[in-house]
Amino acid sequence: MTQKHVMRFEVIMDAGNGAQKAGDILIKTLAKSGRYVFIEPIIPAEISPPKRTPHSMSGAIIRVADFEISNIGSSTDLMLFEHEILLDRRLEDRDYEQNSIVLLDLAEEKRAKDAYATAIKKAKDLGLNVFTFHMDDDSLAHIKGLNGNGKNMYYMGMLASIYKISKEEMVAAIRSTFKKLSEEKLTKNIAIFENGYKNVSEILSDTFEIASAKENLTGEKILLDGNTSLSLGIIDSGFKLFAGYPITPASTIMHTLARQFASYGGIVHQAEDEIAAMGTVVGSYYAGVPALTATSGPGLSLKQEIIGFSMVAEVPSVIIDVQRGGPSTGLPTRTEQTDLFAAAFGTHGDGGKVVISVATVEDCFYAPHVARYLAEKLRAPVFILSDYLLSASYKVFDKMKTYQLDDVNDISDEILDRFYINRLPDTIEMVKDNQATPGELEKMRRVTGLNTDKTGNIVYTSDSNQRSHDVRNEKIHHVRRALKTPEIIGDTEGDLLVVAWGSTRGVLDEAINLARKEGLKVSGLHLKIVYPLPLMLKEVFSKFKKVTTVEAAYGDPLKVTPLATMLRSETLIDVTNGLATASGRPLKPKMVLAKIKDLV
C-alpha cells in the first residue's frame, strides 16, 4: 500500500453506461471520509452516440487529496476503460504520465482482437502500464439479468479496492443513490460491486491511500457543480424571473430553476429564442421584477442588440454566459475563456458593461448577488462569465451561508470582499432622471434605445449625446474606483507575475505554489471582476520584471490573447500571453509551471 497526498484516477465508459454515476458515488464517499475531491465529467456533445465509437466517450475524472484542491490537476495516475476504442481515443488527450496505469476490460476483445492489440501496443509504447481483465462469470450473469446494466458497479468496486475506500460506505452510498431500484436489482448491483472489489487484486496488486484530513471531517458538506451553484445563487440573490433558451452548456441552469424556482416565488420563462429571452429580462426588470438570462457561445452573439438597449435605456439586466469553445458553434462541451471581448465590448456602439467572472463553484453561488447589486446600482447590463469546465465540475465543500437578498443595498460585505470590490456610492448619476417603476403615480417613465436628455425625451443634439456617454462611462468608473487590489498569490514583487481570470484560478494557484517551492520569484494575480479593471493594476504589475497571462484561449507570438490584450491596453505594460491553450481541455498546473520556468 502506498500512502499519497494527491492522486487522480478516471473511469471511462460508453455514454449511458453509468460512468458519471460511478464518479458521483466515489467522490461522495471519499468526501464523507474527509478527503478533498474534485471531479471533471467527460460528456459527449451528442446525447447517445453509437456505442463502441470514439464519440461515445463518457466518464469521470476524479482528483483526491489530503489538502484543499482547486482544480483537476495535470495528469491521471490510473485510467479504467470499458473497451479499447475509448482507450485509443482518450490517449489522444495526453492526460497521462509515464507509468500511469491503464486497466482495460477485455469483454469486447473477442470481436475486436486486432483493435485491442493495437490500442494496447499504443499505450505501452507511450510508457503506460497496461493491465487487462475479464469480469467474473457471476458478475456477467448479473449484468445479463440487469439487461446489460451494472458494469459500472464492477469498475467502482475495482477502484474502491485500489484506493482503499471503505466497502461498507460505498455500499451505503450505492443504496442511497439507487433507492428507487427494486431490492432484487439493488442486490445484484451490490453483488457486482463486491465482485469487482474482491477480484481486482488478481490483476493489480498495488493499492493507494489518501489520508483523511481531520479538519475536513467537521461541518456540513455539500456536493455541487458550477451550474447548480449558479442556479441556487440566483434564487438566494433575489431574482424573480429567469428567461432562457436551450443551449449547451448553459441549459442545466434553466433545468434546475424549472424544478425549484417556483417554490421560492420565481418564474422560469422558456423563450422562443435567445433574443426573446434577453428582451423578456429587460421587460421584467423595467416592470420592477429582477430578472436574468443564461446563455453560451452563439446565444451571446444573438443577445447583443438588447444588451446595448439595456445599457442605453438604463434598465438593469444580468447575463450569465457559460463559455464554451468557439468561434461559432465550436465545441459545445469543451471549455474556453474567449468571450471576454464579446461580453465587455460586444454590442455595437461604445459603452461599458461590467463583467464578473467565477473561479470556483462557491463563487458561482455568490456571483448572482454581486451581479444584481451592480446591475441595479448602475442600471446597466452585468455579465457573469463562467465556463464549461466550471459548469460541469463537481466539488465537495463546506455548506455556504445563504442570504435571501432582497434590497441590493443590503448585500453583505463578505460577498463583495469575495469579488474584491467595495460598495458603490449611494447615489450614482443616471442619463435620465426618471427611473420610476410602472405603478408609481405621475412618473410615467418611458425608455428607448435612442439618445435622450435628462428628461427622457429623444434628443439628437451633440451636447446631449456627449453627456449620455459621460454619464454611462462614469458608472463604469465608479466600479473601477471601487475595485480593490485583486488576489495576489505569493509576494507583491518578483521576477514574474502570472495573471489569470475565471476558472483558471485553481491551476494558477497550484502552479505558482509549485514554482515558489522551487525557489522561483514568481507570483500570481487572479481577477474576479475582469471588466472594468482596477486602477492600481499598473502599479502592481510594475513591481515585477515580467508579466504574463494564463488563459484557456488561443494565442501565438503575433496574436495576443484577450486578457493579455486588455491588460496591455489598460496598463501599457508589455504583458505577454505566456500560456495560451485552446484545446478545449482544462489547463494543467504542470504546463503552467513549465512555462513559468521558461520565462523566469
Binding site: 434564487i235 417554490s263 421560492y264 428582451g279 421587460g283 410602472p438 428607448t448
Partner: protein, 305 residues
C-alpha cells in the same frame, strides 16, 4: 385584457389631456395620429390609469407611440416588442399592456416573436399598424406590400404576394383576431375596446395610411371596396360606411368561416374570431401559486452529502 378598474375608481378621472406627452413627429396626414387618439379614447372610456398602463413598441413609425402617450412605455428594438412585453406581463399581471408594431416590425424581423406571442396567448392588446410599406427607413418593400408596387428595394415592382396577417394569426390559434382601419374612428375604438376586454393575446390589424410613401395603399375616401363583418357579438359599423361597403354576417366563434372570410384580407374589416383560451401568464401564475413553498434559508440542504 381585463381591467383593474375596481381599485382605480377611487383615483383621479383620466382625461384625453392627461394622456398627452411629447408632441408627435409623424408626417402630416399619417394614420398614426388617429391611432394615437383612438388609444387615448379607449383609455378614457375605460378609465385606465396611466401609471398602471405600459405601451410597448418596436422600431418604425409605429414605434414612436409610447413617447406620445403619457403612460409608462418601452420603445424597444426592431421586431422585439413582444419579448419586452412578455417580461412586463409575466412580472406584473396587474398592468395594462398595449403593443404597437408595424407590418415590417411584426411580420418580418419580429415574425418569430409574433408567432409565439399569439400561440402563448399572453394577456395584452397587439396593434399591427399596416401601411404596407417600410416608412421610417423610406419606402422599402414590406411583408404586406402589394405585389407590383415599385419601392426603393424592388423598383421593378414588389415581387411577392403579401403575407395575410389575419390568416397568419388564425392559423396560430389566436384567441382574438380583428381588423379595422384608423380612419374609421368609431369602428377602430370599438375594436380595440373589444380587444382590451378580451383576456389573452388580442390581435388587431389596423389599416393605416402612409401619405408619404404608400398613399395608394388604402382608399380611405371611399368604402365601396370594404367588406364589413357584422354580428351581434362583433363590432358595429357606422351607417355611412355600412351603406357604401358590403356587409357580411359572420359569427366570431366560427373558425371555419373566419378562415373563409380572411381570404379577402386586406379588404375585410371586423371581428374575425374570438375564443376564451388559457393564457400563458395565467398558467404560470397558477403554477407559481400552487408550488409548494420552501424555506429559502434551507436552499442548500438538498445538496448535503
Amino acid at each position: 385584457m381585463t381591467t383593474t378598474q375596481e381599485q382605480e375608481q377611487e383615483q383621479a378621472k383620466v382625461t384625453m389631456k392627461d394622456l398627452k406627452a411629447s408632441d408627435p413627429r409623424w408626417c402630416t396626414g399619417c394614420g398614426d395620429y388617429t391611432i394615437l387618439v383612438g388609444v387615448r379614447k379607449l383609455m378614457v372610456n375605460n378609465q385606465l390609469q396611466p401609471h398602471n398602463t405600459v405601451n410597448v413598441s418596436g422600431i418604425g413609425c409605429s414605434g414612436r407611440m409610447p413617447h406620445y402617450m403619457n403612460t409608462y412605455g418601452i420603445h424597444s428594438l426592431h421586431g422585439r416588442s413582444i419579448p419586452f412585453a412578455t417580461g412586463v406581463v409575466l412580472g406584473r399581471p396587474d398592468l395594462n399592456v398595449f403593443i404597437h408594431s408595424g407590418d415590417g416590425d411584426s411580420l418580418s424581423i419580429g415574425g418569430n416573436h409574433l408567432l409565439h406571442g399569439i400561440s402563448k396567448n399572453m394577456n395584452c392588446v397587439y396593434i399591427l399598424f399596416d401601411n404596407q410599406i417600410y416608412g421610417l427607413t423610406k419606402q422599402q418593400t414590406s411583408p404586406t406590400t402589394r405585389k407590383g408596387l415599385p419601392t426603393q428595394t424592388q423598383p421593378g415592382g414588389s415581387m411577392m404576394d403579401p403575407i395575410n396577417p389575419i390568416t397568419f394569426a388564425l392559423g396560430l390559434g389566436a384567441s382574438f383576431v380583428a381588423s379595422t382601419a384608423e380612419w374609421m374612428g368609431k369602428h377602430f375604438v370599438e375594436t380595440i375596446d373589444a380587444a382590451f376586454k378580451h383576456k389573452g393575446f388580442s390581435f388587431v390589424h389596423v389599416a393605416q395610411r402612409c401619405p408619404k410613401f404608400n398613399p395608394a395603399a388604402w382608399d380611405y375616401q371611399n368604402a365601396g371596396w370594404m367588406e364589413f363583418l357584422t354580428h351581434e357579438t362583433g363590432v358595429s359599423v357606422e351607417d355611412r360606411l355600412a351603406a357604401q361597403g358590403k356587409q357580411v354576417e359572420h359569427d366570431p366563434s366560427d373558425l371555419e368561416s373566419a378562415f373563409a372570410r380572411a381570404k379577402d384580407v386586406p379588404n375585410v374589416f371586423g371581428l374575425f374570431y374570438k375564443e376564451d383560451k388559457p393564457t400563458y401568464d395565467g398558467i404560470i401564475r397558477e403554477r407559481l401559486e400552487n408550488a409548494p413553498k420552501k424555506d429559502p434559508s434551507k436552499i442548500l440542504d438538498g445538496y448535503l452529502i
